[in-house]
């Protein structure tokens, strides 16, 4: 038994910050609120660093028991913290990126109302996310899972006076509920069949079951249900629809929650549950297909988006699809690797986009940007690095992780690889499109910062201007990470580090078999694809800026479909929302609620009224009448008693 590291401090520190800001923030100055939030978030990060330093000396997996939670017969659930390599990676990503985004937020949100509220929510999110990551059992994980959903809801709807933000929050929450429903059923199945929710016990029990290659067994069911949950949280097809709308939230929120951390919880969960998936290949195949489809699907939509954050949102969905594809081919460590690098460069992208938005006074439409290169050089530079990273240009971080995934996908099934490669092309294309539309050409925006959708205080933009240092520092750190973050994966070091966690499936052994020739040729092809995307984007948006419109016109209906996100929202509205609303209105509301429940209540009341109307004549208010009734009743009782006695 290794000494206690007081892991509980890691989630609790941000909670304390959230509590302080939530309860007392209204009376504190902005500086104080920011200091509190940064202090506690930073303390958590420091704690994680301390854990990382001590990591080598720990016996793994390292669990720390805090308290009993549920004790019901044979069924136990504890408050327990579980630490292994996977957890450590997640902890570092969450607290590290989280801390940077906190710093950034202090600058970004400095002009906003509800400053304390924002940081209270942000710290609350950190608490739940760390709870999720550190959980020692599925139920505790579920708390974190729901908690980050709550924090996400609160933060998407941060500008709750804006109707679109409020409904985006609701949409995220409701769509997540669908996924959570699957997660919950998976938990129930575990309780029923394994009698426990503890990771160790569940995985031990699962690993003793035979691999379900055919059919639809217990583990397949659990796996699929977990995947439903993961699809909800991580915005996979068909439950991705909430994520683009979630961009209504403040940009740091999009960076932290909807790019770097929360949306990757699904990936983390699938990776954590890899024992179950390893024994359910069919479920794993579903994961891979879902991931692949999502990657392609979202990338195509991303191509036609004009809102800078929407592009990034679809990009996120697409990248998450990559991660699921990796998990689906049992390359969990590749998925986690991509998760990490993605956290760096996508966080950076969002923050840089935020910086851009900040620079142009709240404008998000790329068509009204352009030529910002000279106004915001640091932002341009960092965003450029992030774009190179996501596009998969070596030696940036995205190259290593994405290449790893594509390689493993090829090994599993070349179809995945083909689609993945095409997606990589699209990714490269739309990311450079974003870069070119934003930073090249001429500035197409209005001279002054009007039409302020986020309620930014109008700080009199003469022209776009660079963000303050407090925002740029996180950008630069993340840029460094995007640049060099992938290098730890060179030579499979990252995979070896995570090896003990995933060292159960034979599928992961394939990596060793692969020839270096194949690997290198695939690598070259993906780099070429990325370069192609870059070139096409340059061609269309820098060299011949009128061409895109013509292509769009020639594509006609397809382009329209892409612009309208394949009408998925409308499809859902028609398929689910409308029938639900209609059914609720006509059947549940008018039929059940008004027709049965209200009617029962009202009819009872009316019946009582009628009976009372009749009985009221007895209640004349005359004392002697009442006495008469009592006397008659007493006589009846006496007669009955005597009759009973005589009989």
């Amino acid at each position: 038994m290794t000494p206690s590291l007081h892991l509980w401090l890691i989630p609790v520190l941000p909670l304390v910050g959230a509590a302080i800001n939530g309860f007392f923030g209204r009376r504190l100055t902005r500086q104080a609120v920011g200091a509190v939030a940064l202090t506690f978030c930073g303390a958590a990060f420091a704690m994680v660093l301390y854990v990382a330093v001590r990591f080598a000396s720990l016996g793994l997996p390292h669990t720390e028991f805090l308290a009993h939670w549920i004790r019901s017969g044979d069924f136990f659930v504890n408050f327990e913290f579980y630490l292994d390599q996977l957890t450590l990676v997640m902890l570092l990503v969450v607290t590290g990126v989280g801390f940077l985004i906190h710093i950034y937020s202090v600058g970004y949100m400095s002009e906003e109302g509800g400053f304390y509220r924002f940081f209270s929510y942000l710290n609350l999110f950190m608490f739940f996310m760390l709870t999720l990551v550190l959980a020692g059992n599925y139920l505790q994980m579920f708390i974190g899972w729901e908690g980050v959903g709550l924090a996400s809801y609160l933060l998407i709807g941060f500008w709750f006076t804006k109707d679109s933000a409020a409904s985006a929050g609701k949409k995220a929450f409701i769509v997540n509920r669908i996924g959570d429903f699957g997660f919950l059923i998976a938990l129930f199945l575990m309780i029923k069949h394994f009698g426990s929710l503890d990771f160790g016990q569940v995985f031990a029990a699962a690993s003793h079951l035979s691999v379900e290659t055919v059919g639809f067994g217990l583990l397949t069911s659990i796996g699929l249900l977990l995947m439903v949950g993961a699809a909800g949280k991580s915005a996979q097809v068909p439950l991705y629809v909430w994520l683009p709308d979630a961009m209504e939230g403040p940009t740091p929120v999009s960076a932290l929650i909807h790019a770097a951390t929360m949306v990757t919880a699904g990936v983390y969960m699938v990776a954590r549950s890899h024992v179950i998936f390893d024994h359910a290949p069919n479920a794993l195949t579903v994961v891979a297909i879902v991931g692949t489809l999502t990657a392609l699907f979202a990338a195509t939509i991303g191509v036609a988006q004009t809102d800078i954050k929407k592009v990034l949102a679809y990009s996120t969905i697409s990248q998450l699809g990559y991660m699921f594809m990796a998990c689906g081919v049992a390359a969990y460590s590749a998925g986690i690797f991509h998760l990490m690098t993605h956290a760096f460069f996508k966080g950076l992208l969002f923050l840089a986009a935020g910086s851009v938005i900040h620079a142009v006074g709240g404008e998000q439409d790329m068509r009204k940007m352009g030529g910002l290169r000279q106004f915001v050089p640091v932002t341009y530079l960092t965003m450029g690095i992030a774009t190179l990273a996501i596009a998969g240009i070596p030696p940036f971080a995205g190259f290593f992780s994405k290449d790893e995934i594509l390689f493993r996908a090829y090994q599993a099934n070349p179809v995945y690889w083909v689609i993945g490669l095409f997606t990589a092309f699209l990714t490269s294309f739309y990311m450079f499109r974003l870069l070119f539309m934003t930073f090249y050409g001429d500035y197409r925006g209005a001279a002054d910062g009007h039409d302020d959708p986020h309620g930014h205080a109008n700080h009199g933009h003469g022209s776009p201007h660079e963000s303050p240092t407090i925002m740029l520092v996180p950008l630069m750190i993340l840029a460094l990470l995007s640049l060099g973050g992938g290098w730890i994966g060179i030579g499979g070091r990252f995979e070896r580090f995570l090896g003990p966690v995933f060292a159960s499936g034979d599928l992961s052994e394939r990596a060793a078999e692969a020839s270096h020739v194949l690997e290198h040729s695939l690598m070259a092809m993906s780099v070429a694809t990325a370069g192609l995307g870059w070139y096409v984007a340059w061609l269309l948006y820098v060299k011949r800026p009128l061409l895109p419109q013509r292509i769009a016109d020639s594509l006609g209906g397809f382009y329209e479909a892409v612009v309208h996100k394949y009408y998925i929202d409308e499809l859902y509205a028609t398929l689910f929302v409308k029938p639900l609303v209609e059914g609720s209105t006509s059947i549940l509301w008018h039929g059940v609620d008004q027709g049965v429940i209200d009617a029962a209540v009202n009819d009872t009341a009316h019946g009582a009224t009628h009976v009372s109307e009749a009985a009221r004549h007895m209640q004349s208010g005359n004392l002697r009448s009442y006495a008469g009734w009592i006397a008659a009743g007493g006589a009846a009782v006496i007669a009955y008693m005597i009759w009973m006695g005589v009989r």
Binding site: R624, W629, I630, A631, A632, G634, I642
Partner: protein, 174 residues
């Protein structure tokens, strides 16, 4: 024999007083009839040996309760009873019901002989024995009753006292 005669005489006075209570239209006559009933009941108690009960009956009922009634009748200057027709139920249902119930009880009492008979003063209720019973076996009820009386006193004071603000201004009658 003496017992039976006394019982019948005072029982007759009792019933006569009770019926007179019903027959009289003026409340003060009814009240005096009730005093008569209570006094003769005290005699019936004496016949049964309950001398303490009898004396207390006179002191409490005749001497205090009924004086209070007379006092209130005088205070409110209650007049002759009005012959209003307020309730048919009381006449049609109540009175026959009472009579029927009473007759049934009487019939049962006369038919069943196991109730037995009592001799003159067969159970002497001396103050001492009653007191012993009251302060030992019935101590809790006794104390509870004392609280009841206390509450009743306060209630009576509150109810009967006339708050200055509630005196209706002249001319405003409902």
């Amino acid at each position: 024999m003496l017992h039976l005669v006394l019982f019948l005489v005072f029982g007759a006075i009792c019933v006569a007083g009770a019926i007179n209570l019903l027959a009289q239209t003026h409340p003060i006559s009814s009240a005096l009839s009730l005093v008569v009933v209570m006094a003769s009941l005290a005699v019936e108690y004496l016949l049964l040996g309950a001398e303490f009960v009898a004396v207390v009956q006179v002191i409490v009922y005749a001497g205090a309760v009924m004086v209070l009634f007379v006092f209130v009748i005088m205070l409110l200057n209650a007049g002759e009873e009005e012959r209003t027709k307020g309730s048919r139920v009381a006449m049609i249902l109540g009175v026959p019901g009472v009579l029927a119930g009473g007759l049934l009880v009487a019939w049962v009492l006369l038919k069943r002989s196991e109730t037995g008979s009592v001799t003159l003063g067969s159970l002497p209720g001396y103050p001492k024995t009653i007191g012993n019973l009251l302060f030992h076996d019935f101590l809790l009820p006794f104390e509870v009753t004392s609280i009841l009386v206390l509450i009743a006193i306060m209630g009576a004071v509150v109810l009967a006292s006339r708050p200055e603000a509630q005196i209706p201004p002249p001319g405003k009658e409902s």
